[in-house]
């Protein structure tokens, strides 16, 4: 598996509240993206806990979210240990929140399974065709009030957990991304374009710089919402795998 990962903060911010993580354990790949809600408290840390716990599940085969009660206890212990002025103490009461999507790939069986809450998305592309879009399937479905996993169990975002599963083969590419990029991706697809063409050839540190340049270009053109943006893509190479850089999509300018 070839993996590329990049996390770009919202323009004007120095740190992102997203998390993207990929981990391989005994041939099983686990990849997760979580998007912390910027209006909530320590949401970036909550996103990290969700991704770390999911990716550390090792050989566990149940298709489910991480143990939220344990993660909530960890989050609260960390939050209470932070020195904070009066407004942070009030903010602490509101807790942290994040959208989440995770995928587990079993290469020995050519099988994948995915779990998600909210509007972080997973896409599967094969032979220049989008064959999976999970859990959001249309760009119109990206709502202003997303469902989130919350550090406060009273919010119960987990009752909206979605699961999916499928198969994959050599040559397939999976893309996990936070909502802003996912919305752009689906809009491009719905308008007859192939947005994966300018994501699939990103690799290494130069790929991260190139990703940042492209994201900024889209934001400046009003085609991408200014928000923390995370992308992970995994490619399962075929024996005749080649990478061809296609023309840039609409709205992205050459340097």
């Amino acid at each position: 598996m070839l993996v590329f990962s990049a996390n770009i903060p919202k323009e004007g911010e120095t740190a992102s509240e997203d998390c993207g993580l990929a981990q391989e354990t005994k041939g099983i790949y686990r990849v997760a993206v979580a998007d912390g809600a910027t209006s909530s408290f320590l949401s970036g840390y909550w996103a990290e806990l969700l991704c770390q716990s999911y990716c550390a599940s090792g050989e566990e085969t149940e298709n489910s979210l991480p143990d939220l009660s344990a993660l909530r206890a960890t989050w609260h212990e960390y939050a209470l240990a932070q020195p904070m002025p009066w407004y942070m103490q009030e903010k602490l009461k509101s807790g942290g929140a994040a959208a989440f999507v995770g995928i587990t790939l079993f290469p020995a069986e050519n099988r994948w399974q995915a779990v998600g809450v909210g509007d972080c998305c997973l896409f599967q592309v094969r032979d220049q065709q989008l064959i999976t879009s999970f859990p959001v399937e249309r760009s119109d479905d990206f709502g202003a009030i997303p469902i989130l996993l919350h550090t406060d169990p009273a919010h119960r975002g987990e009752i909206y957990t979605r699961t999916s599963e499928g198969t994959f083969q050599a040559g397939d590419t999976f893309y996990l991304m936070s909502d802003a990029l996912a919305a752009w991706f689906l809009r491009e697809f719905e308008q007859g374009r192939e947005p994966w063409n300018w994501l699939k050839d990103l690799k290494g540190d130069s790929g991260i710089s190139e990703f940042l340049r492209r994201i900024r270009s889209l934001r400046e053109g009003g085609r991408l919402k200014n928000d923390d943006t995370t992308l992970i893509h995994l490619h399962y190479p075929s024996s005749s795998d080649t990478r061809v850089r296609d023309s840039l999509p609409e709205g992205v300018t050459e340097e």
Binding site: T38, W86, K91
Partner: protein, 256 residues
């Protein structure tokens, strides 16, 4: 929205109700602007009191300041208040607990109502701010009053205020009228002046801005269904409704 302090308090003077609503609004605004690394300066905030005098209403270290970055507001409250609130406990039975919260403004003494002078003062401050901050979101003015102006007809001053704008749109004026009648039905964000019996409330309704699409969305999140003609006008509001009106007008992020 953070917890409101106190229920609808019977017998609480309106001046105290206004101060409570303002302090609660400031508190909620600061909490909304705060991230894990501190308070983001999404706003400059000004509070003008008018009664015996027309002047910035800040107390403590902010005394005399016209517009203050919200981070400075967060760190320079006038005093901390400790009180007890009663709320449902884990098993539903009411429990009483101590809470502390910051205060920035105090109730103004009753007297004359130089509303026109206050509105002109607000215009002078915000005209300069708009010239210097054309790329920013436009100002939101929340005007809370419990009586009629004693220094003339305030409508022209309100019209002047709503003529101010930045590149992102015109100033939004909320008019909040506190009734002298406890029996009067609260009215929030109406799209018609029908039911407003007296000319003064009709004038405040007319001069108030239309709610922006974003404000209507926020109101919808709080269970209110509004129309495109809904105005930024609240009448006979108890303090909790005033806080909602103020929060709808001043939530960070997109105004439009």
């Amino acid at each position: 929205m953070a917890a409101r302090f106190g229920n609808r308090d019977e017998g609480v003077p309106k001046s105290e109700g206004v101060a409570n609503a303002l302090n609660n609004l400031l508190r909620n605004l600061i909490i909304t602007c705060s991230k894990s690394d501190g308070v983001r300066n999404y706003f400059h905030v000004g509070v003008i009191g008018y009664g015996a005098t027309v002047a910035p209403a800040w107390k403590g270290r902010l005394t005399g300041h016209e517009l203050v970055p919200i981070r400075d507001v967060a760190e320079n409250y006038a005093r901390m208040v400790e009180t007890r609130i009663t709320e449902p406990g884990f098993n539903g039975a009411p429990i009483s607990r101590a809470v502390t919260y910051p205060v920035w403004v105090e109730p103004q003494a009753q007297g004359s109502t130089p509303m026109c002078q206050a509105l002109r003062y607000a215009y002078d401050i915000l005209n300069g701010w708009c010239i210097r901050n054309q790329v920013s979101h436009p100002p939101v003015v929340v005007h809370i009053t419990d009586g009629e102006a004693t220094d003339g007809n305030p409508a022209p001053q309100m019209t002047s205020l709503t003529s101010l704008k930045t590149n992102n749109g015109p100033l939004v004026l909320f008019n909040v009228l506190l009734s002298s009648s406890k029996d009067a039905k609260p009215t929030s964000f109406p799209d018609t002046s029908e039911g407003l019996a007296d000319p003064y409330s009709q004038m405040l309704y007319t001069e108030a801005s239309l709610l922006t699409p974003h404000m209507r969305q926020v109101a919808w999140e709080h269970g209110m269904t509004l129309t495109e003609e809904s105005k930024a006008f609240v009448m006979n509001a108890d303090p909790s409704l005033v806080v909602l009106a103020l929060e709808i007008g001043t939530r960070p992020g997109s105004v439009y």
